[in-house]
């Protein structure tokens, strides 16, 4: 039986003062679990609001980007002996009641990582990009960029290691690393709310999309042989 004391929720946040407090208190109300907010160099009061809501805050000295922040949380989880880490976005997209769904799926012992996937979202061009990356990486997952994920201890160990420190996003690069280490990744469908504030860091402008596509393609090519 799963002990909720062994579970930590990791929320990377950069200037999310409008949403972070509500998310943290919602989680705290529903489950007795540790919530860690990684403040990725915010210039607003994200840290104060998160602390007030009862989270542990890891303050980054400078912004490391989404994945750098999440990895900080994973290293924290590893150091403090948490057995399961759940990552969530700080913009209010992910519903708190998805957490038990992920834990349930992870409990099956059939998987090391569970991704909360919401496939209906996104424009046709985004779906095109995803199917392109599915082909390129040889992976059969529907939602490659979902930030709602549950990692077991094996996955935490791997992803908090040096080999994951040069990644920039919590998406394909992470999945490729897990795949190479032969960890099992499964998906479970979830619902998401529209973003309360902010917008996707990846899909913010044409320039950002292009450099993201290039970056991810290179990652896939670097791992290409492994999927033959």
């Amino acid at each position: 039986m799963l002990n909720l004391k062994d579970v930590v929720v990791l929320i990377p946040a950069k200037n999310e003062v409008n949403t972070i407090g509500q998310i943290v208190s919602e989680i705290k109300e529903l489950f007795p679990i540790t919530v860690v907010v990684i403040d990725d160099g915010s210039s607003d009061d994200t840290t104060i609001v998160a602390l007030d809501a009862g989270a542990i805050v890891l303050p980054m000295s400078f912004s490391l980007g989404a994945w750098g922040a999440i990895q900080t949380g994973l290293r924290y989880a590893e150091q403090y002996g948490f057995k399961i880490a759940i990552t969530m976005d700080a913009d209010g997209q992910h519903k708190v009641d998805s957490i038990p769904k992920l834990l349930e799926k992870l409990e099956d012992k059939q998987s090391d990582v569970v991704i909360g996937s919401y496939v209906e979202r996104g424009s046709p061009s985004r779906h095109l990009a995803w199917s392109f990356f599915r082909k390129l990486s040889g992976m059969n997952l529907e939602d490659l960029t979902s930030g709602l994920r549950a990692y077991n201890h094996k996955a935490i160990e791997l992803l908090s290691s040096k080999s994951a420190s040069l990644l920039d996003y919590q998406d394909l690069g992470v999945l490729l690393l897990l795949h190479r280490a032969k960890l099992r990744v499964v998906e479970t469908p979830i619902f998401i709310s529209p973003r309360i504030n902010g917008h996707s860091r990846i899909f913010s402008s044409w320039w950002a999309v292009s450099s993201y596509m290039l970056y991810t393609s290179i990652l896939c090519l670097a791992h290409f042989k492994l999927f033959k």
Partner: protein, 112 residues
């Protein structure tokens, strides 16, 4: 003025700058070794520019100056890649350091 005088002067000038930089302690000893070799080769090639002709003939290169350019650019490429590898290594270290610092700061705050 003969071209040999020009190349000798150039060789000494460039080697002199490199040696001066090394002596000023502006280069980490690991890089200094590489640059010392570069300085010496530039000096030798400056004094004996015909070395390259001799080498080119033995390597089957018809036009010796191309050999200089090919070798020069080759070494520059190797050096630049080495810099990028080093840079990536530093990036990894800085990121991990920042992560550890954040964890320590949180611990520190909680134990207060």
């Amino acid at each position: 003025m003969s071209y040999q005088l020009t190349s000798t002067f150039l060789g000494f000038f460039i080697a002199g700058i490199i040696l001066w930089l090394i002596r000023r302690d502006l280069l980490h000893s690991r890089h200094a070794a590489w640059w010392l070799v570069v300085a010496l080769s530039i000096m030798l090639l400056g004094i004996f520019p015909t070395t390259i002709d001799w080498l080119a003939t033995h390597l089957g290169v018809n036009y010796p100056p191309t050999l200089i350019f090919v070798l020069g650019m080759g070494f520059i490429l190797i050096k630049v890649i080495a810099i990028d590898i080093h840079q990536s290594d530093l990036e990894r270290k800085v990121r991990r350091l920042a992560q550890r610092l954040a964890i320590f700061e949180a611990e520190n705050k909680r134990s207060k």
